[in-house]
Symmetry: C2
């Protein structure tokens, strides 16, 4: 049974039937030309959209359907978190290959709705169409924040410290582990996988089901604990350079301080890879990067404790606009452009 056995209306009904009761502020939800929403008083609105495309952002041979749904929402929640906002609603737009099994469709929706429920995000609408090519999920999420508590990429100042949440590199290692696995053993069998294939759930789970740092972002915003914030969706090197560019500053990242998880580090080293370079340039870590003035350091660390999220100081924003990675090499200190840490200077659109 595939989605092509159903009408668009049938499939929309399958989603609508699983939605929890609509909150008071959702005046018109799924099933009309558009959703109608009561704005939240005294707050501004935050909107983001992000797409997951099969063959670009995920591979269906080793990413189970529920993880596809989870990730499609998680990447957007991560953007909302990076603005210091509280997420509120999602619009789910999907382009479905005709051969997509109905069960996969249901599991994608289930993965999406499970994460939505966890963050009290309501699905207010969306769109379904068929795709003659890859499966695509395009998700819009809106949230709200008090105007003066919104975090942008623009406010970092020289002397502010660079903090990152959680650990880095695990998702990139997890993706490689999943790619290296054999298809007969891997898919949908995350429990047993760690033993037979050097799979570390600590890494594969981080790739498959990233936890957006929603609470941390909200607390950083509420406590005004940072001057700039961004998420690491395209990797640390990209995020540091984007914040530096938007804020008109540079950065020096201390390679030795990068919080690289043990499992990821072991896997990189076992495969002859430079763990620092991999962690600095690898994507899919939905962690937050923040600029924290020294005077607000305590406030920032208290916010992180309240959110239950570890944070690590990894460097400093500088007046010089170069974005550098500082490493010790044979007893001396070497600064190199962060963007070339992985031997990849920048990625073309292909």
């Amino acid at each position: 049974v595939t989605v092509s056995d159903f009408t668009e209306r049938d499939l929309i009904a399958r989603i609508a039937d699983r939605l929890p009761a609509a909150p008071d502020w959702l005046l018109v939800g799924v099933g009309d030309d558009a959703a109608v929403v009561e704005p939240e008083r005294n707050r501004v609105e935050v909107l983001t959209v992000d797409a997951l495309v099969e063959g670009v952002h995920f591979d269906r041979t080793f990413v189970p359907p529920d993880a596809i749904g989870h990730r499609a929402l998680a990447v957007n929640l991560s953007d909302i978190a990076a603005m210091g906002a509280a997420p509120r609603l999602a619009l789910l737009s999907m382009a479905l290959p005709a051969a997509l099994p109905l069960d996969d469709f249901d599991r994608i929706v289930a993965g999406f709705l499970a994460l939505a429920s966890q963050h009290r995000v309501h699905v207010a609408g969306g769109n379904l169409t068929r795709s003659p090519g890859p499966l695509m999920l395009d998700v819009t999420v809106t949230g709200t924040v008090k105007r003066r508590q919104a975090l942008t990429r623009r406010g970092a100042r020289p002397g502010d410290e660079i903090y990152v949440s959680g650990a880095m590199g695990a998702a990139a290692a997890g993706l490689q582990m999943l790619r290296d696995g054999t298809s007969e053993d891997l898919p949908y069998n995350r429990d047993a996988a760690g033993v037979a294939h050097d799979l570390s759930p600590a890494c594969t789970e981080r790739y498959l089901c990233p936890e957006p740092r929603v609470r941390l972002g909200m607390l950083i915003g509420r406590n005004r604990a940072a001057t700039a914030c961004m998420d690491l969706s395209d990797g640390l090197a990209d995020a540091v350079s984007q914040v530096a560019c938007a804020s008109g500053v540079g950065a020096v990242i201390d390679a030795g301080a990068l919080p690289i998880g043990n499992a990821a580090r072991r896997w990189f080293e076992a495969h002859g890879l430079d763990a620092v370079a991999e962690a600095a340039t690898g994507g899919d870590d939905y962690e937050l990067l923040a600029a924290v003035p020294p005077k607000r350091r305590r406030r920032f660390e208290q916010s992180a404790r309240a959110a239950g999220t570890p944070v690590t100081r990894i460097g400093v924003w500088t007046a010089d606009t170069a974005v550098l990675l500082r490493r010790s090499h044979e007893g001396s200190i070497v600064d190199m452009p962060l963007s070339s840490a992985g031997g990849r200077t920048f990625r073309h659109f292909q």
Copy 2:
């Protein structure tokens, strides 16, 4: 030169460079993790998302890039109009094949922004990714409306009259004309096309560059001139049945009253097709369908005159929940299910 010669950042900059100055209410626009927007006082918010997928919703061999951009926004503005709302901002998410010429990318954006400018809709953000398959545009549009002026599909009551704006069938005829054209003569050459290939610009333009009925929708809402409203994106038969279902009513449509344009009618008849059936089931007419109580008929028609949009009474909503097309056949009156008017009962998701 294709989009694959550029980074995502380059392409975003090409869009950002063409945006007009940000309005006051757009606190953070393109270039951060998310957009930040000041809500409009005393109004509720309307949100919609709609995707255009190459090979499903358009064919690049005969739909020029600027028309692709135009249509991607138009279909969403039509949804906003159907809610009685004023559009405000758009998020533009695109999945681009690596081989897409840069010039096509620029023209897609230009077509999108030209329509946006016409309706004072500001692009507040979006997403760019590559596609290993078709070109896809996924557009989110938000608007605002006074709470009591929002139009839904739910309010039609038995005895309310059924109105439709503009003319029907032209887009469906235009699509067929474009499909029948030879590829060497057709693409991007709309001026000369009418002569050589039986192309009627009145039809092809309606398919390529539909004009969403934004002003009409706003005035119907503001004047509370209708009890229900929906746009005809998937055709009249679909829209009537959706409003009937949402409102718990039925409908009788008078086939003789359908406003089928002359060029479309001639083309259908010249090709041995039943013009009524084609117009009733053909899609891509971004007209509005409304339920108008007899007492508000004058108010509705005044709203239409003020919007400069012709409207036609085509039937009546009924207590019986059947949705019927009434035709005269060899001197007698025949009612048939509207959904089977074109010999197509309903469309599976394929």
